[in-house]
């Protein structure tokens, strides 16, 4: 798929193949954060007053909040006033079709293996929204989707074209008061994707957003809103990469999902932000709030994530199971190598009757990395007949990494059945020798063992994503043995 080899400034011997920088003129606002900056961003985007007010309220609240410290993460203090909060590639004209999108941008996505020309997009099975720094640059297959009544566009466009929908649902699952990073995002978010699936519609193709951070010292704050109306279905994919830089880049996103009666949303992520070099220099700080509300009866949300990137990951995709019989699932593979740190998990909030949830978390730590599974299963007094099953497995490679499991269970209804299983294992010398004795080289053996370990999660990814993810896992662990 990839025609041009990305030119990576590769002096460290790292294997991150998305580390190149696109040289393109950008429209950036001065660094720092204050009310004027927020007004400037809002004005640049030509936003309605209600949205500016939403931002300003969030900013006011954010100033009263403190950065959370409960996660098992150690990182340098983030200088929020040293960051730039808006950077958009300067395009000569505002593109109205793909042909008008700047060639530099199309080439960038091509290099990343995400062609935006429709005929090349996996033979019409995936529609893509491409977000470059602070703005969405292109969304494919919009016309075809519109025939079915499916709305798939950038959130900026949605604000203009479907203000009622956005106004109704924005912040309804993740209020701006929710947490420090979500609040910051609410004040400064610049773009992201918007999806609306009308009643009774099964979305005819996979929808995908591809996030790319390019500009230096710029935070990326995107916001995704997905609404699945009664009896609808959508499968949504998210991918992300960033250039290889010595400074840390901040990424603080929000994903909000509303699932109505009898509807189902499947949300898959392959997170491959730049993880920093082998000595822990640079890399993305990834602080993300993802939450889905199963509002209607018999609704279902399924999160699948493969986390290989970022220097620091703080992320807990959650399910609020309000509708009776609603189902929440969380399948996760997190891989950390070198000096990466990840504190990730999920929250299952059971409110409706007979709601069920399933958590399968697989953590692989190598090098000097540290990883924590942190998860909450909460059953409210009203939730009769709740069923939860959690399984958290950790695999250690080498003897300098760490793995931690922190499950919280809050049960207020005695009819609930909650199960939790956890294992920690290590790729042993005996296992490696056994593989080698049968002709299988060390790296291939590690990959075989790791892929076996993650299989239960990987099988929940859409096919073409699963292949990419398996490759990514192998790359992430290269050089972790021997």
């Amino acid at each position: 798929m990839q025609k041009n080899k990305p030119e990576i400034a590769d002096e460290s011997g790292d294997k991150y193949k998305y580390g190149f920088v696109t040289d393109i003129d950008a429209d950036t606002v001065p660094k720092g954060l204050n009310e004027d900056i927020i007004r400037l961003i809002s004005a640049k985007k030509g936003e309605p007053d209600w949205l500016l007010e939403f931002r300003l309220k969030a900013f006011e609240h954010w100033q009263t909040m403190e950065e959370p410290t409960w996660a098992k993460l150690a990182y340098d203090k983030i200088g929020y006033q040293d960051l730039c909060y808006y950077s958009a590639p300067k395009q000569k004209v505002a593109p109205t079709s793909l042909e008008e999108v700047d060639k530099e941008l199309l080439d960038t996505y091509e290099k990343l293996g995400i062609p935006l020309k429709e005929q090349e997009v996996l033979a019409g099975v995936v529609a893509v929204d491409a977000v470059f720094d602070s703005v969405s640059v292109a969304t494919t297959y919009r016309a075809k989707l519109a025939e079915k009544g499916v709305i798939f566009c950038s959130i900026s466009e949605a604000v203009k074209e479907y203000p009622d929908l956005v106004k109704k649902y924005l912040g309804s699952v993740v209020p701006y008061t929710d947490n420090f990073f979500a609040c910051l995002n609410s004040a400064v978010f610049t773009d992201g994707s918007f999806v609306y699936i009308p009643q009774g519609v099964k979305c005819p193709m996979e929808l995908s957003t591809y996030f790319r951070i390019n500009a230096k010292n710029t935070g990326q704050f995107e916001r995704t809103l997905i609404v699945a109306d009664d009896e609808s279905y959508v499968s949504y994919l998210e991918g992300c990469t960033a250039p290889q830089r010595d400074e840390n880049q901040l990424h603080a996103a929000i994903v909000e999902i509303v699932v109505m009666k009898d509807a189902e949303v499947k949300y898959s992520t392959v997170q491959n932000w730049y993880p920093g070099d082998k000595d822990g220099k640079g890399g993305v700080y990834n602080f993300v709030t993802k939450r889905a509300a199963c509002r209607g009866a018999n609704s279902k949300i399924s999160w699948t994530q493969v986390e290989t990137g970022s220097a620091v990951t703080w992320k807990y995709p959650s399910c609020i199971l309000q509708g009776d019989n609603s189902v929440g699932e969380f399948y996760s593979v997190a891989i950390t190598n070198n000096h990466q740190q990840a504190d990730t998990g999920t929250k299952m909030i059971h409110i409706g009757r007979n709601t069920t949830s399933k958590i399968i978390s697989k953590g692989i730590s190598a090098g000097f990395s540290n990883q924590t599974y942190r998860g909450l299963v909460k059953v409210s007094p009203s939730a009769v007949g709740v069923r939860n099953y959690s399984q958290c497995d950790s695999l250690l490679i080498g003897s300098n990494c760490g793995s931690h499991t922190v499950p919280y269970i809050e049960n207020r209804n005695k009819t609930a059945v909650i199960e939790h299983e956890a294992t920690t294992s290590k790729i042993s010398d005996e296992q490696l020798f056994y593989c080698q004795q049968r002709g299988i080289g060390e790296e291939e053996a590690v990959s075989l063992i790791v892929n076996g370990f993650c299989k239960e999660v990987m099988q929940h990814l859409p096919m073409e994503f699963a292949i990419e993810a398996a490759k990514l896992i192998n790359i992430s662990l290269e050089g972790s043995v021997g």
């Binding site: 294992s425 004795q437 063992i449 892929n451 076996g452």
Partner: protein, 252 residues
């Protein structure tokens, strides 16, 4: 004329400065089956691990040639690909990795080394089914994760299956009978005997004579304190069984 396959000369090896193998000499020609018998603690497993290149062992002197090549310079996987197979006493469990997937990786790694085309899934499954049948291995067993929850007998059968599909020039059987009841022992022995074709060689390491009733060796060596103290034909094994090791250990 007999062609030497494995030539071990004056081998000295050990773990953490402790010498365990102390001047070991043995030549195995193509098609020969040799048995090494020795008491517990004689260093039998050390010998098989050193020959297969397991980490943690240090060779301090001597040489080992396999098909004329310096075996000690090869990585463990190269030795395996060249045709040294260790049928393990305690095969390790690898959760999550289906046995078939493991076998396919293994077979193709060896084929690739010999410039043969890799087998596709259909060809591979067909071969495994056929070979498995002979050893009483059903399709269900090889769908399970590698060795996970296998009984002692199942593990040994799987080792034998791997030996028969990889077709190694030299098979080292390390206490292949441990943990087997008599029926399982017969199945494994039949499998091993099925591989005796006058070309392939075997080194059977055991401290009981029992296995040698089924896998009848051409030569028997008594191994004690890191070296061979006596060599003979299959009758020597019976003599050992009768008199015990003590006499031979004293003899040296």
């Amino acid at each position: 004329m007999a062609t030497p396959l494995l030539e071990i000369e004056n081998l000295h090896a050990g773990v953490c400065d402790k010498e365990i193998i102390k001047g070991f000499n043995l030549t195995i020609n193509e098609g020969e089956v040799h048995a090494i018998m020795g008491p517990n603690g004689a260093g039998k497993s050390t010998l098989s691990n050193v020959l297969c290149g397991k980490a943690g062992y240090e060779v301090t002197a001597g040489s080992v040639r396999f098909k004329g090549k310096d075996l000690l310079r090869m990585s463990p996987e190269e030795r395996a690909r060249e045709g040294v197979f260790l049928c393990m006493q305690y095969p390790v469990e690898i959760p999550g990795v289906p046995t078939t997937a493991f076998l396919k990786h293994s077979v193709n790694a060896v084929r690739k080394h010999h410039n043969l085309l890799e087998l596709d899934t259909m060809e591979f499954i067909k071969m495994v089914r056929e070979e498995g049948k002979k050893l009483g291995i059903d399709g269900e067993m090889i769908k399970r994760p590698l060795n996970v929850g296998f009984s002692g007998g199942e593990k040994k059968r799987l080792e034998t299956l791997q030996m028969s599909i990889l077709k190694p020039a030299l098979s080292i059987l390390d206490e292949a009978d441990s943990g087997l009841d008599i029926d399982a022992l017969k199945v494994v022995a039949e499998g091993v005997n099925g591989l005796r074709d006058g070309q392939r060689s075997m080194l059977v390491i055991t401290h009981y004579q029992r296995l040698l009733n089924y896998v009848v060796p051409d030569f028997v060596h008594v191994y004690a304190d890191g070296r061979i103290v006596k060599s003979g034909t299959k009758e020597l094994a019976l003599e050992l069984e009768e008199k015990g090791y003590a006499e031979f250990v004293r003899e040296k």
